[in-house]
């Protein structure tokens, strides 16, 4: 009985912190970067991704390149974190590691408190499918598939999901990004901003906890970039999706909750 009471207490506490967090996010968006509150680092924040002593070294016959050096980083549930740094400083490598697309040379990656370094290819693929959504600078849409078929792609790898349910979830995701009227179009028939929205809908369709966005506005003009940024912010605020975004755009980074800066493979702030 005591155990059950404790569990309920903890759940209510989490709910409270979650609402507080969302409330703060609303304020955050309403305030200027200068007056923006500091990120949540309260003890109650739940780490969804934790990287400990991460090193990534690329080796060829002649050269050894240290892409990441002793990176320690925690991403909490519901956070919107931006990663900044000059080209070649290891941002994309970091995102690949966070997305379980690559393995670190040393160090530990934990998802929901569980180290995944020893996971098999199949287990990692399952985790990526269930927990992580990816948004890329160059969209990575499959040109021969319609918008709705593109959005369905991650759901194809989900076991036991019917075709009808896949289609329904894809349509819902497209509705969220305001592309309900373009479901039958092909990527070649869309503008850059619309393509990126499709990519976001694809990331959303699987209901991920984390969205990893690698320079999502990098190929877009400022208006469309703003549009996509607003969409990511809204997803973070309204859906509670954790977003980690690599960007070169200082203004967009300042809109996020926390900015992590990298230089030469190391975290500098």
């Amino acid at each position: 009985m005591t155990g059950a009471y404790c569990r309920y207490s903890l759940s209510y506490f989490n709910l409270f912190t979650r609402f507080s967090h969302l409330f703060l996010m609303e304020n955050l968006l309403a305030t200027s970067p200068e007056t923006r509150p500091q990120p949540l680092n309260s003890p109650a924040a739940t780490p969804v991704l934790r990287l400990t002593n991460i090193e990534k070294v690329y080796q060829t016959k002649t050269i050894e390149t240290v892409a990441l050096n002793q990176v320690n980083l925690t991403i909490n549930r519901g956070e919107f974190v931006s990663i900044m740094g000059p080209s070649g400083c290891g941002k994309s490598t970091l995102l690949s590691l966070m997305g379980l697309l690559d393995e670190p040379t040393s160090g530990t990656i934990e998802v929901d408190g569980r180290p995944v370094t020893a996971y098999s290819d199949r287990e990692l693929a399952g985790l990526r499918n269930l927990k992580i959504g990816f948004v890329f600078q160059s969209y990575h849409l499959i040109n021969d598939l319609s918008v709705v078929d593109n959005v369905e792609v991650p759901l194809l790898y989900r076991k036991g999901m019917s075709g009808k349910e896949r289609r329904q979830r894809a349509l819902t995701a497209l509705d969220k990004v305001g592309l309900s009227a373009r479901t039958g179009h092909f990527p070649g028939q869309l503008s850059g901003g619309q393509r990126q929205r499709v990519a976001i809908a694809r990331a959303l369709a699987g209901g991920p906890e984390i969205i990893l966005a690698d320079e999502p506005t990098g190929n877009l003009d400022s208006v469309m970039g703003e549009e996509i940024m607003d969409l990511l912010l809204a997803l973070n605020r309204q859906e509670g999706v954790t977003v980690v975004m690599v960007t070169h755009d200082e203004q967009q980074a300042l809109k996020t909750e926390r900015v992590i800066r990298f230089f030469d493979g190391s975290q500098v702030s």
Binding site: S96, D121, R128, H140, D149, E152
Partner: protein, 399 residues
């Protein structure tokens, strides 16, 4: 996933058109070669209807412009039969089994016409010499000497064509010569029915056949007499020499040639095998070309789709899953090619092309489809493995 693959292939139909047409042509070639091989194999395995082993053919030649009196020929036959090691001797026409001589005619019974049927002249010992298998009635006998119509024995396939379900024995049929009055000697009365026979080559199908009773009342106009000699097992050159000496003993003007029918069979077989083997070699080269083409196209496709592979891995596909996807795509493309090829191939049995039964065509369609799937799977295997091994992080960064 299968629906997804079909959608993907359908949407890429222009890009896949060449691949599909390549598979279509491969299917057609394999179907053609398959039909030839299956037909040949079916015929080879079918009963021959007679036993050519231990049968020799003896050709007795009187020489150009020379006479071959009946009495001397009968003497030759009697003396050869009396030789130790000879079991049966039968006089026949020159169109012996496995030779290039043919004699054929078409026949009619009431309104039923036969296709061209091989016709043979045969004496009363012919069936015994070749061990033909009787199904109805009897073989010729001395009792047939006085018959009004010429006695004939027919093969089962001709019997079915001319008489269907009716009894055949005693029935009279004639040559099919429209508008010409039939002479009494061209009216044939059925006295027996034997199994279908394949006397041309090992790989040919049975041909409807008619054996007319040979009545050599006068052989003086003959230049050559063809004789079937069935010998005891393990007879060889010594007996052949004895036969030659025996003929020379009757008359020195006549020359002889003794050949083993089994040698004729093997020799004749080459005439079918050589073109078939040539066809197979050409087909093989074509298939190797197609296979190399498929391999190259798939390899190129994968290198062009590295970003997609990375994306799919990021979305939750395993490395093995990517490999299977590429293999699956190839199977879908193959299915399109096979469907088109099958539609064409199905016309052959429907139109009864080359007078072949439907079964070899259907078997060839199945075999060609199986072979095409196997070839494409083998060609897709290595590129699919390559696709499976692509590192997603690297592939995604490349674009």
């Amino acid at each position: 996933m299968l629906r997804h693959l079909f959608t993907l292939i359908w949407n890429r139909k222009r890009a896949n058109l060449l691949l599909i047409s390549e598979i279509f042509f491969s299917f057609v070639v394999l179907f053609g070669v398959g039909t030839v091989l299956i037909t040949a194999a079916r015929n080879y395995l079918a009963p021959r209807g007679f036993e050519p082993t231990q049968v020799w053919r003896l050709l007795v030649r009187a020489g150009q412009g020379q006479k071959m009196p009946r009495a001397e020929l009968d003497d030759v036959l009697r003396q050869v039969k009396a030789l130790p090691g000879v079991q049966t001797v039968a006089l026949t026409s020159n169109n012996l089994p496995f030779t290039f001589n043919t004699n054929n005619s078409d026949f009619i019974y009431k309104d039923r016409k036969s296709p061209f049927a091989n016709t043979y002249d045969a004496d009363d010992h012919y069936a015994e010499a070749l061990r033909l298998r009787l199904r109805e009635g009897r073989w010729f006998a001395p009792a047939d000497d006085g018959t009004h119509h010429r006695p004939v024995v027919i093969s089962q396939d001709l019997r079915d064509i001319l008489f269907g379900d009716e009894p055949a024995l005693g029935k009279i049929f004639t040559y099919n010569i429209p508008g010409k009055a039939t002479k009494p000697e061209d009216e044939f009365q059925v006295v027996g029915v034997v199994d279908n026979v394949r006397m041309t080559t090992d790989f040919d199908e049975a041909i409807p056949s008619v054996w007319k009773r040979l009545i050599p009342y006068d052989t003086t106009h003959w230049e050559t007499a063809a004789v079937l000699v069935r010998v005891a097992p393990d007879q060889g050159g010594v007996l052949q020499e004895k036969i030659a000496r025996t003929v020379a003993g009757v008359t020195r003007q006549w020359s002889t040639e003794v050949r083993v029918m089994e040698d004729d069979r093997l020799h004749r077989r080459l005439y079918t095998l050589v073109p078939v083997v040539g066809l197979c070699i050409m087909g093989l080269f074509l298939i190797i070309n197609v296979a190399l083409g498929l391999f190259g196209v798939l390899w190129y496709n994968i290198s062009q789709r590295r970003a997609e592979i990375g994306l799919r891995r990021a979305m939750g596909a395993t490395g093995a899953g990517i490999g299977w996807q590429f293999l699956g795509e190839m199977m879908v493309v193959t299915t399109f090619g096979v469907i088109l090829g099958s539609l064409l191939a199905a016309q052959f049995p429907l139109l009864n092309a080359f007078d072949l039964p439907a079964q070899p065509y259907l078997l060839a369609i199945g075999a060609a489809a199986g072979a095409v799937y196997l070839i494409t799977a083998l060609c897709a295997w290595q590129p699919s493995r390559l696709a499976a091994s692509i590192q997603p992080a690297v592939a995604l960064r490349e674009e």
